[in-house]
């Protein structure tokens, strides 16, 4: 029997606006064919699913997981008065604040609940440079890892021995014993947290033993890093990754398919890796994008739209469709875009309450209808 482990969330942010219609494709729908004269995905290329829907040709491995009941498709997801700026819309998803500019990330606040005293500096680990606002919250340490194998402070010092000595000096000159005043104390604590986080994370690759081969694409190293850190049992509860750009104003068909190949292949390897280690039960993956794209194509691509699709993938996910696919008929559209029918704050509530076990209301600021997509969550 596997021991009971803390549940872990892995976010894959599909940056740039993943085109919903060519991701989960209503390929039998006449309105879809009319709206996409240049870039519809035809019967011979689509990966058929069910209910007249299919997946982008790049998503074969996602289909396999779907067939095993491990993929929940969240249709028509969005928020009222959609914003079509990448930046603003991504911000809204990150802060769960559609009406005013929020400064705290939804996951940063969740981490605050999970580790109120900031005891574990690697409760949240981000696999990219820079801090996504989703993870930003006062006093929440987040390790931002570009490359796990070369992660740490003072990486510019060449000689290994020299660097080790420099790091031990670094630790001492950031200690509370040195320095005066609140600002220096704050810098000291942050510097030491950064150093500790790097030291803890650097142990992960050495502890990791796996026969699973990850594909050779730019995204795979992120998910492999997640697997390494997760299996090293460092207490990380939230992992953040991102991939893109899905901003396919032009050359959409090739670009979106290629990106989904990279993500799907990586995801399949990741899932297999977890399964072989008996660690799939406690991991759940969320894939989301800041918006969907315009229903009508522009010749070779599509422009910014609203209403999109999110996915949950995991052993404890109840696979299938959640909510309706929005109407594609022209008269049903809002300014040429799909009308959202599923507030993303409901999905956040599912994840916060029923996966991470933290109170969702203060984070999403209200009560939103849940989707109940997990095994054991009641309808």
């Amino acid at each position: 029997m596997a021991e009971k482990r803390d549940k872990v969330l892995v976010v894959i942010q599909l940056s740039g606006g993943n085109d919903y219609l060519n991701c989960v494709v209503p390929y039998e729908n006449g309105h879809y064919k009319d709206a996409r004269p240049n870039l519809k995905i035809t019967d011979d290329r689509v990966i058929p699913l069910d209910n007249g829907l299919g997946l982008n040709p790049g998503m074969g491995p996602v289909k396999d997981l779907y067939d095993r009941g491990k993929v929940a498709i969240m249709h028509g997801i969005g928020y009222p008065e959609p914003n079509r700026s990448h930046f603003r819309s991504m911000d809204i998803w990150h802060t769960a604040e559609p009406t005013k500019v929020g400064d705290k990330g939804w996951l940063g606040q969740a981490v605050q609940e999970l580790d109120p005293n900031g005891e574990n500096v690697v409760t949240a680990v981000n696999f990219s440079n820079g801090l996504p606002r989703a993870l930003a919250a006062p006093g929440v340490p987040v390790a931002s890892v570009g490359d796990l194998n070369n992660y740490g402070l003072l990486t510019g010092i060449d000689g290994q021995q020299q660097r080790e000595k420099a790091l031990s000096t670094f630790n001492r000159i950031y200690s509370p014993a040195i320095g005066s005043g609140a600002v220096m104390d704050y810098l000291g604590k942050t510097g030491q947290d950064a150093l500790r986080g790097a030291e803890i994370l650097s142990t992960a690759p050495g502890k990791y033993h796996s026969n699973v081969e990850y594909p050779d694409n730019p995204f795979a190293s992120s998910l492999k890093g997640v697997a390494q850190v997760h299996m090293a049992d460092l207490g990380t509860r939230v992992f953040y990754t991102q991939y893109g750009s899905f901003d396919t104003h032009a050359d959409e068909v090739k670009t979106q398919e290629r990106l989904w190949h990279h993500i799907s292949d990586s995801l399949a390897a990741f899932y297999q890796d977890l399964e072989e280690a008996g660690r799939s039960e406690e991991v759940m993956v969320l894939m989301f994008s800041e918006f969907g794209r315009r229903v009508k194509d522009n010749g070779t691509g599509t422009d910014h739209g609203s209403g999109g699709v999110s996915f949950l993938v995991g052993d404890q996910v109840k696979g299938g469709h959640y909510n309706e696919y929005p109407e594609i008929e022209t008269s049903a559209l809002v300014e040429g875009d799909l009308r959202f029918n599923n507030d993303f704050r409901g999905l956040y509530t599912d994840i916060l309450e029923d996966w991470l076990s933290v109170d969702a209301k203060p984070i999403v600021q209200g009560q939103y209808e849940k989707n109940r997509p997990f095994v054991g969550s009641t309808n």
Partner: protein, 484 residues
């Protein structure tokens, strides 16, 4: 050597250059010490030359910096300017106004209009605040950023009318909702030229919704609300110019701008949303600056001159009391290390690094800009800050570092660690460390020097250079280097 008992001219001038610029090299500081502190202030406010890497050279190397469509192009273009300029305060004040009048490229999609706005900040940013606020109200990037092209006679859009009061001049608590409405009415008809054409472009081409060229301001009298208005107690058929005049007369405006300047040039203040509730750190300083504003006829440059020459600016408590912004970390490191004689792809790394540390130029997180202060520092950004500075100052191929290494490697000899470290700190713009920090680095240096005898296979000179490089890298990895 500086004495510990009193603040030296060298320390004061290094302080001034960190605030009014991006920090000085040892040579720059030494030459300013010769002309004296007040003359240095004058020099910074009124620089004899304004030169930076020429745009035509940059564009020959980087085609995208002609097009200026996406952030890596615009941000990098500005980094070139900040690293190579002979007038650093001009860039510092442009950065200052970019933070206060925060305008984002992401909403506007094209970057040229914001680059034009930044040029206005350089041209007017140290001058008369009235000219600047009028320039801002007519600035096409600002008009579109805050939707004033949608502000029509009979159909008011309050976005600009609200923010000019709340964020750009007085701050919350000094006007009513009615004033916002009347202010917005006064700015009806302030729009950009050829809007229907731009709207058509937007429908046709979302990648370049407003075309390739910069936009122009247009005042459309037929769309202006000529009715009577009352704003802050003054009545009449007020137009935007009248509103700006009334705003500039307010003591609240002078204090609000003074507090912003204090936050950027003197000491970290509270986040702006708290200002209506909690008074300034140093109310007396704010009044001194506000007095300078009125005495000079609204001159920002004179507010700064009064600041730089004041006791509160020169006070021990103000020196090294501000957390550097990411741009200050990046540009400051590059100006010390050198290497921007010609265009270099390195500039894109510099620009991206600012973003990784939380300050993506031309892409402020909101209309409120960046809060600054402790907001700059998280575990992730701390690592970026430390690693960036130590990478740049550890690159002996850069001419500035090369010179330091060649001069200092001669000092690498047993028993000389303290002098070696002090010499390194001097060359890092007279970087001041806490005594205990310095001692730790001296111990590190002594250990490195001691290890040299065993470094067989390496030439002695090369080994000595490596010791110097590692001391420089550690010195810029300190908390003290994070402060300005």
């Amino acid at each position: 050597m500086v004495t510990s008992s009193s603040v030296s001219q060298t320390q004061l001038i290094s302080h001034l250059l960190r605030r009014a610029g991006f920090g000085g090299t040892r040579e720059e500081i030494d030459s300013f010490v010769k002309i004296g502190y007040e003359a240095t202030v004058d020099h910074l406010l009124d620089p004899p030359t304004v030169e930076s890497m020429p745009q035509d050279i940059i564009r020959r190397y980087h085609v995208d910096q002609s097009d200026l469509r996406i952030q890596p192009a615009t941000g990098s273009n500005w980094i070139y300017r900040m690293v190579t300029t002979t007038a650093p305060l001009q860039e510092k004040i442009a950065l200052f106004w970019h933070r206060v009048f925060a305008t984002g490229q992401t909403k506007l999609i094209q970057g040229k209009v914001i680059m034009t706005q930044l040029q206005m900040f350089r041209d007017l940013g140290l001058g008369n605040y009235r000219d600047l606020l009028l320039g801002l109200s007519r600035d096409p990037a600002m008009l579109m950023w805050l939707d004033n092209q949608d502000n029509h006679n009979g159909a008011i859009n309050e976005n600009y009318g609200r923010e000019i009061l709340e964020l750009f001049s007085m701050g919350v608590g000094n006007y009513t909702e009615k004033d916002i409405y009347e202010c917005s009415r006064a700015f009806t008809g302030w729009t950009i030229a050829n809007e229907p054409y731009n709207a058509q472009k937007m429908r046709n081409n979302t990648a370049r919704p407003y075309g390739y060229i910069g936009w122009q301001f247009r005042y459309d009298d037929s769309d202006h609300d000529h009715g009577d208005k009352e704003f802050l107690g003054e009545k009449g058929d007020l137009n935007g110019e009248d509103i700006v005049d009334i705003i500039c007369k307010q003591r609240a405006t002078a204090r609000f701008i003074a507090r912003h300047l204090y936050h950027a040039f003197v000491s970290d203040e509270l986040p702006v949303p708290q200002w209506p509730h909690i008074g300034p750190r140093d109310p007396e300083a704010i009044e001194i600056m506000a007095d300078a504003y009125f005495k000079s006829g609204y001159s920002i440059g004179e507010m700064l001159r009064a600041t730089f020459n004041s006791d509160f600016f020169k006070a021990e408590a103000a020196r090294n009391a501000r957390i550097k912004s990411p741009v200050e970390v990046v540009v400051g490191s590059l100006r010390l290390a050198g290497g921007y004689e010609w265009p270099t792809w390195d500039v894109y790394d510099a620009n991206a690094s600012c973003g990784f540390m939380g300050q993506s130029l031309l892409a402020p997180p909101s209309v409120e800009g960046w809060q600054g202060g402790e907001d700059w520092v998280s575990t992730g950004s701390m690592m970026q800050r430390v690693n960036y500075a130590s990478k740049v100052l550890g690159d002996a191929e850069r001419p500035g570092v090369r010179t330091m290494v060649e001069e200092l490697s001669r000092e690498v000899k047993p028993g000389n660690a303290a002098a070696l470290v002090d010499a390194c700190l001097e060359r890092l713009g007279y970087l001041e460390l806490e005594a205990a920090t310095r001692q730790e680095i001296v111990d590190f240096a002594a250990d490195q020097v001691g290890g040299l005898s065993g470094s067989a296979g390496e030439s002695k000179n090369f080994a000595a250079e490596r010791v110097v490089v590692s001391i420089l890298q550690l010195a810029v990895a300190t908390r003290e280097f994070q402060m300005a």
